[in-house]
Structure formats: structure tokens, C-alpha cells
Amino acid sequence: MSSSAENPTLTAEITKPSTEIATETAQSAKKITLKTSDDQIFEVEESVAMEFATVKSFFEDAPSSTDTVPLPNVPAKPFSQVIEFCKEQIKFKANPDETEKKRSNSEFVKEKTNEDLVEMIPVANYLEIKDLLDVLNQAVADRIQNRSVEYVRSFFGIDNDFTSEEEALLREEHAWAFEDVDED
């Protein structure tokens, strides 16, 4: 009983990596070299790089260019995660499945730390990856919703730059909003 139950999961595990290998061996496609702000070189499949609108327009202007594309606003760490996302996205381009795509997107953000998300947003913005930006912004909004000011500050690593007078004034301006609100 237990062995027959194990078998399907086992085969599923075997088939999954093998398809990944298949796609990887098929990637004799053109590669594009990208250089991040911290001078790391990324070789990315053309199809993935074309997900970055900024890079795409670069190649539209100079189609035959084989130069390394500099990405001056993009550090390597969030960039590698962005590439990971775009690779996933491409799979859904081939066979669209909205529910699976949603699941995969929420999985993607779920395993990211707050810091990861916050670092990826400017990168997605600079590279103009609209889908990713949507996913990230929503994820961050969900995480800071109904959280205290202190929580949000530490989330983004923000220092409170209000003087106590300014803060008092602002509290006064917003006092109406706090009526009948329980401290929590």
C-alpha cells in the first residue's frame, strides 16, 4: 500500500528534473551578455533578456550588437532573482495557464525575504518588467498592510526623519482618522 503510494511521487520527481535538463540542453539559442552595476557578468538566453523591455529596446536600436549590455542601476543579487522569475514567465508564454501562472507567481514572492522584494522592485522598474513589478508591488503592499509604522520602517530599513515637532503636527492633522481607533 505504502510502496504503491510512493511510486507516483517518485516518478514525478524524476520527470521534473529531466524536463529541465531538456530545456537547458535546447538552449543553444543566442545568449546575451549583461553587466550589472557591481560588474558581474550574466549570460542570459535571448528569450529571457527580451523580457526586459529596457534591454529589448536596446537591441531594437542596434539589432546586430554583440556588445555587453551595461545595466548601471541593477545590482547582481536582485538581478539573478529577476532572471529566475522571467525564466518561469517564458514557460507560461509557450503554454498559457493563468491559474498555474498565479500559483507560480505567488510561490515566487512567498519564498522571498522582505529585503529581496524591496531590492527587486527598482530593478523590475528599471528593466520595465511589468508583470514582475505588479507581482512585487502587490506582495509588498500585502506585507505592509495593517502593520504598524515601526514595522514598516524596519521592513524597508527606513529611518524616521520627522522631528518630534513635525510628527506631532502631522499626528494633529490626522487626528480625525484616529478617532475611535483602538491601539493595537
Binding site: V140, V152, F162, D180
Partner: protein, 162 residues
């Protein structure tokens, strides 16, 4: 300019016809900054939100010159536009100066979703006020003054009864 008031059950468009200012002798003082203490929380809140929107609608038209560092500002506004109204009012402005500034951006206030889990007491007050004050003219005023507003959701199905 076109404006839709969206309740859960009813959509109706209001065209921009009136110039504001004269519209308010009604029970719902949209311009009441003074957060009338005798009235219930939600009404106060609504008054102020709409006032804020009205104000922002005007100031939002004057676009500042864009700089490259505004990119991050745009991202922030995009995120804040997805946060619910309560957080946007009670927490976001107090985080830091740039967040305060971002929270005033009209884009954060495009979709106003009033909480559905309101105390029935507030709800009643809201409905009463709306019934005698929240007329089409009020909506026209909002439409006029809040150009960035796309949707406004109120926790009331009672519009149907009108």
C-alpha cells in the same frame, strides 16, 4: 471626465456637469475638515478622505518636473496605491517624509475601498447620511474635484433601495 461610484451591487456613472462649491448644504459635509466630533467615525473619515481627495485632485494637476530619482518614488506610489485605505491613513504617512509625500499622491487614492466590516452603528449613520445627503450632486462634486479617482466602494447595498 467620467466617474463611477461603485457599490457592491450597483454601478452608475456620473458625468461632470457642475462646478463645485455650491453643492454643499447637505448632511454629508464633504468639505468638513473639522471631522465633526459628534458624528460617527466612518463619516468623519469619509469627510476627510474626500476633502483630501478634493484637495489632491487640484494639486495633482500641477506636475512637478520629473527627475530620475523619482523612479523609486513612482514605485513607492504604486505600492501604496495597493494598500488599503486604513493603512494609508493611519500608518503610511508617519513612516518618513518621503512616504508622507508619496501618500499624498493622487495615484494612491484611485481606488477607495471602504471597509466592509464596519460596526453596524457606523454603517447606519453612513446610510442615513447618504440617504439625505449623498445625492447625485455630491457625486458630481467628487467627480469634479477628484480627477484621479477611479473607483469608490462603499459598504452599502442600500443604494438599491433609493
Amino acid at each position: 471626465m467620467f466617474f463611477t461610484l461603485r457599490t457592491s451591487a450597483l454601478n452608475f456613472p456620473v458625468h461632470r456637469l457642475y462646478h463645485p462649491h455650491s453643492v454643499f448644504s447637505s448632511g454629508l459635509t464633504i468639505l468638513g475638515i473639522s471631522a465633526r466630533r459628534e458624528s460617527k467615525y466612518l463619516i468623519c473619515k469619509m469627510d476627510m478622505v474626500l476633502f483630501q481627495l478634493a484637495y489632491l485632485g487640484i494639486s495633482g494637476v500641477e506636475m512637478e518636473e520629473r527627475k530620475w530619482e523619482d523612479l523609486e518614488f513612482d514605485c513607492l506610489v504604486n505600492v501604496l496605491g495597493r494598500v488599503d485605505m486604513e493603512s494609508l491613513l493611519l500608518y503610511v504617512p508617519f513612516v518618513c517624509k518621503s512616504w508622507y509625500k508619496a501618500s499624498l499622491n493622487p495615484s494612491c487614492w484611485k481606488h477607495l475601498v471602504f471597509p466592509t466590516d464596519v460596526d453596524p452603528e457606523w454603517d447606519l449613520t453612513l446610510i442615513e447620511k447618504i440617504q439625505d445627503g449623498f445625492s447625485e450632486e455630491v457625486l458630481k462634486y467628487i467627480a469634479d474635484e477628484c480627477p484621479a479617482l477611479i473607483s469608490l466602494s462603499l459598504p452599502v447595498d442600500h443604494f438599491l433601495n433609493q
